[in-house]
């Protein structure tokens, strides 16, 4: 007999970041250094606790005793129980390791990166809140709890994206993130309500994941409704994991501090959506139509985002679109019934994307620009070979490693997970497979462009005057202290070896269809990746000023890409012309129909009546007597008539 798992580890992992956030908010706002140290320590403790629980987990996993859950009743109303609990299975442990592990590195990194900011303590309070919300999603054992933390993740991202709230762009981006993801949350709420309604009809009103899974067959939900439920919940995923068409908030979220971008893009928030898809995969298994839509949404997102990334000039925006594209891969894999491949890629992606963002942050911190052209030019002043490599060796090297991992070059981690996804896609519909394949090429191309311009740029290119100015004013470039480089090194190590970690073994073996690793597939995707990289390398090495001036034919498509397929323009148009007009109409109805018409109309009518009736008060006794006599006669008449009848 194997002993159970010690749940107190997980309760602590969950609540420590929250308590620290509250403590900082109340007591440490004036002591930023202490706040940052405490928050970072707390995150490392949470990570340590998760590690401590690992042996227990493996023992249980080995004996097939998972999942386990522990919960307390949060709300109890007659037939309805809403729990607050912890559900432990491989998925939970894997996500916990990612969130707390990558999270602690980002906390550590932030200690240096945000050092000079006046909101230092507030930053760490929000960051801890973010970690708390994300851990909450991961451990949740029911739909309502997931929804609660889902919203809290929205709040944390709102606070952190809009961290520099005095900057209008930042506060707008924060608001946009909150509202866009809330569109998804509406769908999610409706999905949960519908599901609950059906379960209640079948006699078991529960929000619990495991119970729902067990009772789903008995509930006999009609197929159409099942699809609606799944799609409602998927809408929440589309919002949080930034899939087309609700992806628009993610690039704007770059307004937040760079470590926050790393956190949002690697370990939290966008990962939450993919995680939820894996968590409630059992719902989707009941609805093939929903799965098809999920797969297509992922594929389209992967492709569209990769194309937009080709034209961006801001290093963080390129990485943001890259995240969108990679998330598309994960969602696509889940849509093709392979939560394994999706979660595997989520894990490796967490390593190398966090590394890319932190590397970008290191560059931004040193060079004080986000424009890749300026970055490249700024480091090129002294005409030595590969100047950035000399000045910032750790950042440069780890950034290149992460790039290669993202492109899927063997034997780095990204290769393994991407290969898995491509295999899954190969077994899926052909167009989806080709979307995925082309995206491999595009990914290599935009990353090739990025690193060529920043690290390998030729000094032959003539810079526009505006950039010359920026370059001449950039300070001497150097690495920024161990708290920023240490996380880079650790993440680089994991980006390299991540593919060999026993990740797939942790996941529940639900749809474990063993797939033949075709060598042909590997070779093709490798060829796509390498050709993408080298085409970009040569193009941007030898046409440093960009390709559009030379090739007129690409201008029109480039314009579409630069405008990001007009999504933002369409939404702005919708907000201006539909939402605002409905609001204006409501206001006008209120003003003119209800107030002016009905209410004041009544008042006017009353006054008018009063005015006319006043004329009856003539003051002449004879007139009153006449009225009196008339009235008396009338009453008498009615009385007599009534008496007769």
């Amino acid at each position: 007999m194997v002993e159970g798992i010690n749940f107190s580890f997980f309760w602590l992992t969950l609540w420590i970041p929250f308590l620290i956030a509250v403590f900082i908010l109340f007591f440490l706002i004036k002591f930023p250094r202490l706040a940052s140290a405490l928050a970072t320590l707390g995150m490392f403790i949470s990570f340590g606790l998760t590690l401590l629980a690992l042996p227990q987990f493996y023992r249980l996993h080995h004996h097939h005793l998972l999942p386990l859950e522990s919960s307390l009743t949060w709300i109890s109303l007659g037939s309805i129980q809403i729990e607050f609990g912890i559900l432990i299975n491989g998925l939970t442990i894997l996500m916990l390791l990612i969130v707390t592990g990558v999270g602690s590195l980002i906390f550590l990194y932030s200690m240096t990166y945000m050092e000079k900011d006046e909101g230092y303590a507030r930053y760490f309070a929000s960051l801890s809140l973010f970690a708390f919300s994300m851990i909450g999603i991961v451990v949740s054992n029911n739909f309502i709890q997931v929804f609660i933390f889902w919203e809290l993740v929205g709040l944390s991202s709102y606070l952190l994206i809009g961290f520099w709230y005095q900057k209008p762009e930042a506060s707008t981006a924060g608001k946009k993130a909150f509202l866009t993801t809330r569109v998804g949350d509406v769908g999610m709420m409706l999905g949960i309500l519908t599901l609950f309604g059906f379960l209640l009809q079948s006699g078991l009103g529960t929000f619990n994941f495991l119970q729902t899974e067990q009772n789903l067959n008995d509930a006999a939900i009609p197929a159409g409704w099942m699809t609606l439920i799944a799609l409602g919940i998927f809408l929440g995923v589309v919002g949080k994991s930034a899939q087309v068409p609700l992806h628009v908030w993610l690039p704007d979220a770059m307004e937040g501090p760079t470590p926050v971008s790393a956190l949002i893009h690697a370990a939290t928030m966008v990962a939450a959506g993919v995680f939820l898809l894996a968590r409630v995969g059992f719902l989707f298994m009941h609805s093939p139509q929903a799965l098809t839509i999920v797969a297509w949404t992922g594929a389209v997102t992967a492709f569209l985002a990769a194309t937009v990334a080709l034209t961006q000039n801001d290093i963080k925006k390129i990485l943001a679109y890259s995240t969108l594209s990679q998330l598309g891969y994960m969602v696509m894999a889940l849509g093709l019934r392979s939560s394994e491949a999706g979660m595997f890629h989520l894990t490796t992606h967490a390593f190398f994307k966090a590394l890319l963002f932190l590397g970008a942050g290191s560059l931004i911190h040193a060079i004080h620009t986000q424009d890749i052209w300026v970055m490249g030019a700024a480091s090129r002043g002294e005409r030595t070979l590969l100047p950035l490599f000399r000045k910032m060796p750790i950042t440069s090297l780890t950034f290149i490693i992460a790039t290669l991992a993202l492109m899927g070059i063997p034997p780095l981690s990204g290769y393994h997970s991407k290969e898995e996804i491509l295999t899954v896609a190969h077994h899926g519909p052909t167009p989806i497979f080709w979307f995925a394949m082309v995206t491999v090429f595009l990914t290599a191309f935009y990353m090739g462009r990025l690193v060529t311009v920043v690290f390998f740029g030729s000094d032959k290119g003539r810079l526009p005057p505006a950039l010359e100015h920026a370059v001449s004013h950039s300070p001497s470039i150097h690495e920024s202290g161990w708290r920023m480089t240490f996380p880079l090194v650790i993440l680089a190590i994991f980006s390299v070896i991540g593919g060999y970690l026993p990740i797939r073994e942790m996941l529940p073996d639900r749809s474990h269809f063993e797939m033949a690793h075709g060598h042909a597939l590997e070779l093709i995707s490798l060829a796509f990746a390498l050709s993408g990289f080298f085409i970009a390398f040569f193009l941007y090495r030898f046409f440093p000023s960009g390709i559009s001036p030379r090739f007129a034919a690409v201008r029109a498509p480039l314009f579409v890409l630069e405008k990001k397929y007009f999504f933002d323009a369409i939404y702005d148009f919708f907000i201006k012309n539909v939402q605002d007009n409905v609001a204006r109409l409501s206001d006008a109805v209120e003003r003119w129909v209800i107030v002016r018409g009905a209410v004041n109309g009544t008042a006017f009518f009353t006054r008018f009546l009063g005015d006319r009736l006043r004329k009856l008060q003539t003051g002449m006794v004879q007139f009153y007597a006449l009225l009196f006599a008339g009235g008396f006669t009338l009453i008498l008449f009615i009385w007599i008539l009534g008496g007769r009848a």
Binding site: G78, P168, S171, F178, V186, M189, L193, S586, A598, V599
Partner: protein, 485 residues
């Protein structure tokens, strides 16, 4: 001593009349003491409240006019316990705000205590006659308070508010009289009526269906049921801060309270019959007022429309006639009341110093007045139903409970939370974020304890019951379960 809840503030009001008007400090301490004492007594009732008891507790009775069956009888069940708690929080917070009144302080504080006392009366009394009496009594101080101490178009606002609510009261009174006569019991004793009706199996169904609209419409006016809501935004905008707090926070909850107390309890068949209409109007109110709030330029108008929109959720919860939704509705009355009071207190705090309250008049307050700005953000988050604040739990329960009966309306209502987020985040951004507006370099943050306390009290209540909703739901639920057929 349940009688003491309304009488302490009323006695306080009389005491104020005896104090010379230049003894400001003494006047203020009387107000704070009476509101504080009532607050503590209410808390003591909450702690002594017997969980699981669905009937009335702490009942006290004073025979007044036996010939007409009128007695001064008071007591608490889960529903009015919750509302008394709401009123205790809001009236205490409002007392701190009311004490800042600069002109004619004595008169204002007198009216304030009369208002507070009569609201306590409404929420504790269990006799139809005195219920109506206390209800009318709340209207008396409101009119002068708005006319004298109000702002911006105050005559129109006061007139409209008073006329609307009085008109609603007349319609409802007609319904109550019909009810009284049809009952033929010759008593106004709510406990007795309930007992008799329970034994007799309820009133004639046709009569219930005929009577219910009078009560729904009459009390719907107070609950700002669409389209009878138009007094509400302008009334709040015109009223001085502490009146807006009490009105949006507490007085407005009388509408749903009366509907639950009279229509749902005594006319279940009639209410069930008209429920789809109520739910439909509630849905229109949620979306329409939410959309109108997006277009408002004045913060107080925005919050006014917001409260119309939120009352839609309460009415929807009532219309569902189901224990979960109704518990949610009562819980939401509490949550929304606290949140609305907090928002009006914040706007009032800013208005007092700046004499503007346009959405785009401020900017950068996060930098300038961090405490107030933080509270403003928190109140907005509570209002848009963020988990952690009790508003989330209550709205969630309304959704879950109403879903089986009115799925279509719930879909619209869930969209309402998106609309709410739109106008609130927009307001937060324009008021608190962005660069500091150079117009307000003189603006002072809430620094003293007495300035911070109202906000801490109100937001604290939302957070406590947001994390621990069971604390209130266990009080509400047994009563709600017993009321519904």
């Amino acid at each position: 001593m349940i009688f003491s809840l309304p009488w302490i503030p009323l006695l306080g009001a009389i005491t104020i009349l005896c104090i010379p008007k230049n003894r400001i400090a003494l006047l203020k301490s009387v107000v704070l003491a009476s509101c504080g004492l009532s607050f503590l007594i209410t808390l003591s009732y909450l702690f002594r409240f017997e969980i699981g008891n669905s009937g009335f507790q702490f009942v006290e009775r004073l025979v007044w006019l036996p010939a007409l069956g009128i007695q001064y009888q008071a007591g608490l069940d889960g529903i009015n316990m919750t509302l008394c708690l709401l009123h205790a929080f809001v009236s205490l917070a409002g007392a701190f705000v009311a004490c800042n009144t600069a002109v004619r302080t004595k008169e204002y504080l007198f009216f304030y205590l009369v208002l507070v006392g009569s609201i306590y009366g409404v929420f504790t009394i269990l006799d139809l006659f005195f219920l109506y009496l206390y209800y009318e009594m709340t209207l008396i101080p409101l009119y002068p308070m708005i006319i004298i101490w109000g702002s911006k178009n105050k005559e129109y606002g006061a007139m409209k508010l008073t006329l609307f609510i009085t008109a609603g009261a007349v319609v409802a009174l007609f319904g109550i009289l019909l009810f009284y006569h049809n009952l033929g019991l010759e008593t106004f004793d709510l406990i007795q009526i309930r007992e008799v009706l329970r034994q007799a199996g309820g009133l004639n169904h046709a009569f219930q269906k005929f009577l219910t609209p009078f009560l729904l419409l009459g009390f719907g006016v107070i609950a700002s049921l669409w389209p009878l809501h138009s007094w509400s935004p302008i009334g709040y905008a015109a009223a001085p801060t502490s009146v807006s707090m009490l009105h949006a926070g507490v007085l407005k909850k009388m509408g749903p309270y009366f509907v639950i107390r009279l229509a749902v309890t005594f006319l279940p068949v009639g209410t069930l019959y008209w429920a789809p209409w109520l739910a439909g109007l509630a849905a229109i109110g949620i979306l329409y007022a939410g959309m109108a709030a997006i277009w408002q330029k004045d913060l107080k108008f925005m919050v006014g429309f917001s409260s119309v929109s939120h009352m839609g959720y309460v009415l929807l919860g009532i219309a569902a006639m189901n224990p979960i939704a109704l518990s949610g509705a009562v819980f939401l009355m509490f949550s929304h009341g606290i949140m609305a009071a907090c928002t009006f207190a914040l706007i009032g705090f800013l208005y007092e110093q700046t004499h503007v309250r346009g959405v785009d008049d401020f900017g950068g307050l996060g930098k300038k007045v961090p405490f107030v700005a933080t509270c403003f953000v928190m109140a907005a988050l509570a209002s848009l139903g963020l988990p952690g604040f009790s508003n989330f739990v209550s709205e969630l329960l309304v959704f879950i409970g109403s879903w089986p009966r009115f799925p279509g309306v719930v879909v619209l209502a869930v969209f309402g939370i998106l609309v709410t987020a739109i106008y609130l985040l927009r307001a937060v951004q324009q008021v608190c974020y962005g660069p500091v507006n150079p117009r307000w370099t003189e603006l002072q943050d809430a620094a003293q304890f007495s300035q911070k306390l109202p906000f801490v009290l109100l937001l604290g209540a939302l957070l406590v019951f947001g994390f621990w909703p069971h604390g209130l739901l266990r009080v509400i639920q047994p009563t709600v379960g017993a009321i519904l057929p």
